[in-house]
Structures are given as C-alpha cells and as structure tokens.
C-alpha cells in the first residue's frame, strides 16, 4: 500500500493549511493590544535624579564616547558653587540624543559611572521631522519628583508610565557586578524609581550615605513621597522603616 501513501503524500499538505485556518491567530493588534514587554526591554533613555532632586549626570561624556552610533552629544560645565546641579564637580550642561541614530544597545547605560542614564520601556517615538528626533535634556531629564518627561505630543500610543519602568541592565547586575543582585534592582537611589536600593549596602555604587539604601525585592513604579522630598537623608530612614 505504499504507493497509495505516496499518492496521498502531496495532499497531506492541504490538510495542514486547512487545519491552520481554525487555530488561534498569532497577530497582536498592536495599538489596541500591547504585548507585555520583556523585563530587560531597551526603550527610550531617561536622565535620572537622586531622590533629593540632584541630577546624576556629571557631564563626563563617557556615554558619548562609548556610543557605537555616535548619537549622544554631551557638554559638561562646572557646577555653580552656590547652587549645584549635580553632586559632583561638573554636570551635564548640554545632553542630546539623536533617537534616529540610536540603536538602543544600552552601552551608554553600562558606561555611565553615576547611573545617570538608564533605559525604559517606552519605544513609541515616531516623529514627522528629523529635528524632533533629537531629544534634548529637557525631554530626557526626569522632574525633581521623579516624573518622566516625553518631548513628543501625547497620543493614545504613548503610555508615559512606561518611562518609569527600568531596563534590563538595572535588573541584571549591581554596578559592582555582584551576582547576588541578580534579578533585583541594585542601583543607587533615584527619584524616578522611588529611591530603591540593593538588598545589602553597596558602598561603591552610591554617593549617598549607606543609611539611605534600603532593600527592595519587587520593583515599585510609583515614587514614594518621602523620597521626593529634597532632604534625602531625612527621608530615607523613614522609607527604610516602611519597607522592612
């Protein structure tokens, strides 16, 4: 009967296509339905602030140097002594990212010594003009209370809350590279993330006192009001008490 099977062989392909017609569809109707993004998704960058509202960027231009697409332009300036913008000596005076060139590799995030630049989950950044594709510091930097900015007009596509979600680099390792921090956010406190910190103090990673570092295993996207206050050293012990 093998000749019979041979005869039917070519026709079995027809049963395959016929069966597929009744299977669930794989298409995700994007603007209506949004897929859950992977935790380590590389979306738009944000420039972070410390919980006390200070900018993290120190204008070192390491991100610009490491960028393979050469899409970052940074110019540093000395901090005014009476009204410092960042805790360091200098701050990022001009910070521009050409999002049309960016390849979202997150090497700038790896290079940044102060964790000033991180990536988020927002990727809806279509523009109608090349000029609009260049995001300046106004659009990149978060507000002192941690609210992210988006330089493009608000549309139903843009979920501004995605800018509050951290990228994979922040979850993968601590800045010191300790594997113990796998899966948790082990970064220096920032206004945007609600001032979360590693499970154990990571001295070398923070310019803030160790007392302000608190354990947090689950990511909290809503900034805690304590951390938004300018006095970080006052606020942090309270926050520690809440979470423990």
């Amino acid at each position: 009967m093998s000749w019979f099977a041979d005869l039917l062989g070519p026709w079995r392909g027809f049963t395959v296509t016929f069966r597929q017609m009744f299977k669930p569809k794989l298409t995700v109707q994007y603007p209506k339905v949004k897929r859950v993004k992977p935790q380590r998704f590389h979306g738009r960058h944000v420039l972070n602030r410390y919980p006390d509202g200070m900018e993290k960027c120190i204008g070192c231009e390491l991100c610009a140097g490491v960028c393979p697409a050469r899409c970052i332009y940074v110019r540093g300036a000395d901090n005014p002594p009476d009204d410092p913008v960042s805790p360091g000596e200098r701050f990022g005076f001009v910070y521009e990212i050409n999002m049309l060139r960016c390849i979202f590799c997150a090497m700038c995030v790896e290079a940044c010594p102060t964790e000033a630049i991180t990536m988020t989950h927002l990727f809806e950044m279509s523009v109608t003009d090349r000029e609009e594709g260049i995001f300046t510091k106004d659009g990149l930097l978060v507000e002192p209370d941690g609210t992210p900015n988006h330089p493009l007009p608000d549309t139903p596509l843009i979920d501004i809350n995605e800018l509050k979600l951290g990228d994979g680099w922040m979850r993968a390792t601590s800045p010191s590279g300790r594997a113990a921090f796998e899966g948790i956010e082990a970064w220096s406190p920032s206004a945007r993330m609600g001032g979360q910190a590693p499970a154990e103090p990571a001295q070398e990673s923070s310019q803030l006192p160790a007392a302000s570092l608190q354990p947090e295993t689950a990511r909290d996207t809503s900034p805690e009001p304590e951390d938004a206050s300018p006095e970080a050293e006052d606020a942090s012990p309270e926050a520690e008490g809440e979470s423990s």
């Binding site: 392909g13 027809f14 395959v16 296509t17 016929f18 597929q20 017609m21 299977k23 669930p24 569809k25 794989l26 298409t27 109707q29």
Partner: protein, 346 residues
Amino acid sequence: MEDFIVAGVKVLIAFAFLFGVVLLLVWVERRIVAFMQNRIGPNRAGPMGILQTLADGVKLMFKESITPDRAEVVLYLAAPVMALLPALLIFLVIPVGAPITIGDNTYTLQVTDLNVGVLYILALSSMAVYAITFAGWSSGSKYPLLGSVRASAQMISYEAAMGLAIVPVIMFNGTTSLAGIVEAQGGTYFGFIPAWNIVLLPSFVVFLIAAFAETNRAPFDLVEAEQEIVGGFHTEYSGLRFALFFLAEYINMFTMSALTVTLFLGGWQGPVFGPTVLVWLLPVFWFLLKTAVVLFFFIWVRGTLPRMRYDQLMAFGWKRLIPVSLAWIILAMVAVGVRRFGLPWA
C-alpha cells in the same frame, strides 16, 4: 428593440457583478491565506475589512501612472486594457442561473448563448496571453520581458491541455453551447448521483490544473514570481494601469472558476423548490455556491503549494497533462460511441 434593452441591462449587470465579485474576492483571498498562516489579514476598512480592496483601488487611482522612457508607448498603454477585456468578455457566455419565464418572455441568465460558446472561451483566453506578452515586451525592461517570455510559453502549453480537457465534455454532452452543456448535466445517475460532468474525472483534473496555469496562479505563478523577476510583466506598471492588471487577474480567476463549475460541476443545476421567486434564485445560488467552493480551492492551493520550477512546469504540461488528455479523449470517444451505437459486436 426590446432585445437590445435586455442585452444592455444584462451586460451592465454582468459587469457590475464582476467588479463586485473582484472586490470581495481579493479581500476573501487575503483573509483566507492569512488565516492559513495564523494571521488575521486585512480587518480595518469596513466591517471585518471587507472594503479593503476598495480602499486599495482608491489608493491606486491617486497614484502616478509612470511610463518608462524605454517603453513602447502604444502597446504599453494598450496592454492593461487588453488584459481586462478578455477577462470580462469570457463571463458573458456563462449561464449563472436557469432561464426565467415572465409572462410570455423567457430570459436567460447569461448575456448571450453562443452556439460555439466553448470555442469562444478558448479563443478569448488565448487573447489574454497577448496582453501579458505585450505588457512585458513594451515595458523595455528585463524582468518584465522574462515574465512575458515565461507567460507565452506557459499559457500556450497549458492552453493545449485545457482545450483537450474540454473535448470529452463536448463529446459527452454533444454541444458546444454552455447553456446546452449545463442543461445536459441535469438529472441523476441511479436516482441520487447528480449527472454532472465531474464523472469525466481525468478531464476535470486536467482542466483544473490548466486553469491554474491559465490564470497565472500559484503554483504556476512563474509569470509574476515576485521573488525571481519582481512581479514579472507588471513590474513597470503603477497606479491605475497596475490596478487593471490586478483586476484582470482576479476576474480571470472568477471566470475560470465559473467555467469549471459550468463545464464539470453542473452549472446552476441543483435542487429547486418553493415559490416562484425561490425557483428563480436557487439556481443562481447553487451556481455561486459551487463557484465559491472552486474559488476557495484556488486560494487553498495558493496557501499550500510552493511555486514550481520552470522546467518542471513545461515538462508537466507537455509530458503529463497532454498525453493523459489524449488518452482520455480516446477512451471517452469509445465510451460515447458505445453509448450511441452499441457494442460493435452486438
């Protein structure tokens, strides 16, 4: 005078019907193929995307119709019309329903019942190859030329197979009028098997395969082979002229399906009952239902089979289809002869 009015109304209805069918058919094909590939397909324009073809057509109308510098302008401009005309004209002889009697007048549901209907169809479907050949040649570009060379070879070879596949039908039914062929398929064998010409199974299979080749559909779409010759004969066409080719392709697909139904699947024959209106409409319904099934098969094949290689295509046409058709013609000839004159030794 009345004949003229009736004919004019029929022609208008037939053309409107064809364009409506094409609008639906393109959308249906895209949806079905999408479903076979676990996709959704066009579902935006109108309910379930049913107006997608209309939207595409409007878009094409507003696009620039480019004429290449090296084109042979007269043929280049004539080719899309030449492609559309035979596709439209073939449909005119296909009966879509049983004749309707109102008062003393009987109206046939086909524009005209030619007594050489089958020959008319064969003649017109060979006209289609001219359009494609001219389109490819006059574009003054290499890919269209390759496409049109493929088209002329392919369509001429499969034209022969198709003609040979129809011969047993003509012998069996004893007429070349399509209305006559459908009439002859009425009744049943043994009281329950409908007496359709599908009993001439080899003819049916050969005809169906040749129909795929004639309409340049997968797996015989070497003429347009997007991956090899970037669309073939219509590479250089854009805008409304491209839309005409597109229209012609889908009208061809529909008329070929309608022809398959007429020749082999009993046309509008089917159970008819109920009040007068139902008696008028049911044959049309059966005809459309059978055509839809054949069209689904066209789409199903497209969703399933990969494109054939060119030498396979030619070898299959000349070394398989035509010998099979010839042998089957001889068999059918004997059978018809025996049926009419009895066994030679009896």
